[in-house]
């Protein structure tokens, strides 16, 4: 992993001398709205702790505040890796309350959601700068990955030298293309999965343990 990450974790280890092991790494789950970030966070949390992280929804910007699930212990191949999972609001360059109106939400509520979603994006960007040790970048494999938001965020993550895994989610959909995503970000490892169906989760946990352990 990156030198910075090692430095960071050695610092946090130094500050937590009470603990025998190292601090759990904070892994931020980032990506555009509706990529399935919360579904993934919930699946990881349920699989390893029995709890969920937050409500999942087909309405974009359902997650408007970052949520954290601490001390998720993932056991792989006789080893155990403990991470804090941070589920973040979908990052976008535009939030419009009219999106919500299509989902039978009243205007006042839609405007409020929109404002909260915007605050949530600001928060997610701030956490990316200050508060995560690694990133899982979740993309909807049925959507075109070549967007400005994706390019910019991956660029920021790279500039931070954070370990990053690209998750090509929703492979249960007919129009999903994992190849399109790995072509878009050939410099990173792309892991196909369906967080909703639980497809390929073994590989997901193997990779999480390998990258963030």
């Amino acid at each position: 992993m990156g030198l910075l990450t090692d430095l960071k974790s050695s610092i946090s280890r130094a500050t937590s001398s009470l603990f025998a092991g190292s601090e759990p790494k904070r892994i931020g789950i980032y990506g555009p709205p509706n990529a399935g970030k919360t579904t993934l966070a919930n699946r990881i949390a349920r699989d390893w702790t029995g709890d969920a992280v937050g409500p999942e929804s087909h309405v974009p910007h359902e997650t408007r505040r970052a949520r954290r699930k601490e001390n998720v212990e993932i056991k792989r191949n006789g080893k155990s890796v403990t991470i804090d999972v941070v589920d973040t609001p979908g990052v976008t360059t535009k939030v419009d309350y009219k999106e919500f109106l299509e989902h039978d939400i009243e205007k006042d509520d839609a405007v409020r959601r929109s404002r909260e979603a915007t605050e949530g994006v600001a928060e997610a960007m701030h956490w990316l700068r200050e508060d995560v040790d690694g990133v899982i970048y979740v993309l909807d494999a049925a959507e075109d990955p070549f967007t400005q938001v994706n390019t910019m965020l991956i660029g920021i993550i790279e500039s931070q030298d954070l370990p990053v895994l690209i998750f090509a989610n929703k492979i249960d959909l007919d129009e999903a293309s994992v190849q399109r995503i790995s072509n878009a970000f050939p410099q990173h490892e792309t892991v196909p999965l369906s967080a909703l169906e639980g497809d390929n989760m073994d590989e997901v946990y193997d990779k999480i343990a390998e990258y963030f352990g």
């Binding site: 946090s12 500050t15 535009k94 419009d96 600001a122 701030h126 700068r129 200050e130 967007t147 400005q148």
Partner: protein, 262 residues
Amino acid sequence: MPHQCTGCGRTFEDGSKEMLSGCPDCGGNKFQFRPEGTDFPDDPDPPEAAGDDDAVPEEGDASVAETVGRATTRVRDFVSSTPDEEPDPNATWPSETGEDAPGASGGDDGTDDGEIIDADARRETPEEDTAQSSARSGLASAEEVRDVGSPTEADDPDPDSTAGTDGAAGRSEGLAGGTGGPPTEDDDRIVSEPSDEEPELSELREQLNDQFESIKIVEPGQYELNLMELYDREEYIIALQENGRYVIQVPDQWIGNDIDER
């Protein structure tokens, strides 16, 4: 192809004798000369590729990346061309309402908005912050202002705009946004009609504030976000107010304590 008939567009080699008696195709006798290595676009002023300082790698949406790069360069040049002065603590904010939340970011209270960063930039940009503070409060010449946008547009958000390009402020947000939606004439270049009268200083200041903001409120419930700017801010925006102000939390009070001191 150095010569091109302005009538029919036919091109001729340098030194061609054909064109001496007019264009053989259309009889036109006006020709445009372009040195070797330039092509003939259908429309004038093709967008040029941006320099190496794009905020994002130029894969994916090249035209957006070019816009970002150009705008970034322009903003950076503009910011760094302003001398380091002391920021004016009394700078006014657009739509001042007096409901000052503790820690609310004022026009200039020493908080760093950060500079637009390159993707490979690291975190140390203290001197840009000063430059930006002075850009907020310092005086800009009308010429500089014309360079970066028109005051008549800046304070007039267009409710129909979903393209992120409604005037100067929209363009500044275009540093981070501007995907989707049809391109407009100011997508590529910063063009503005100079107004007849000298704009008021307060207007200039508002306009500069607009250009460096992280979140633009198009109208209540419609926001455009400048992701680079948001990422680069030291402080943490915890609440948005509809008057265009943010409630912020300064870094150390919020971040880190609960984790690193366990």
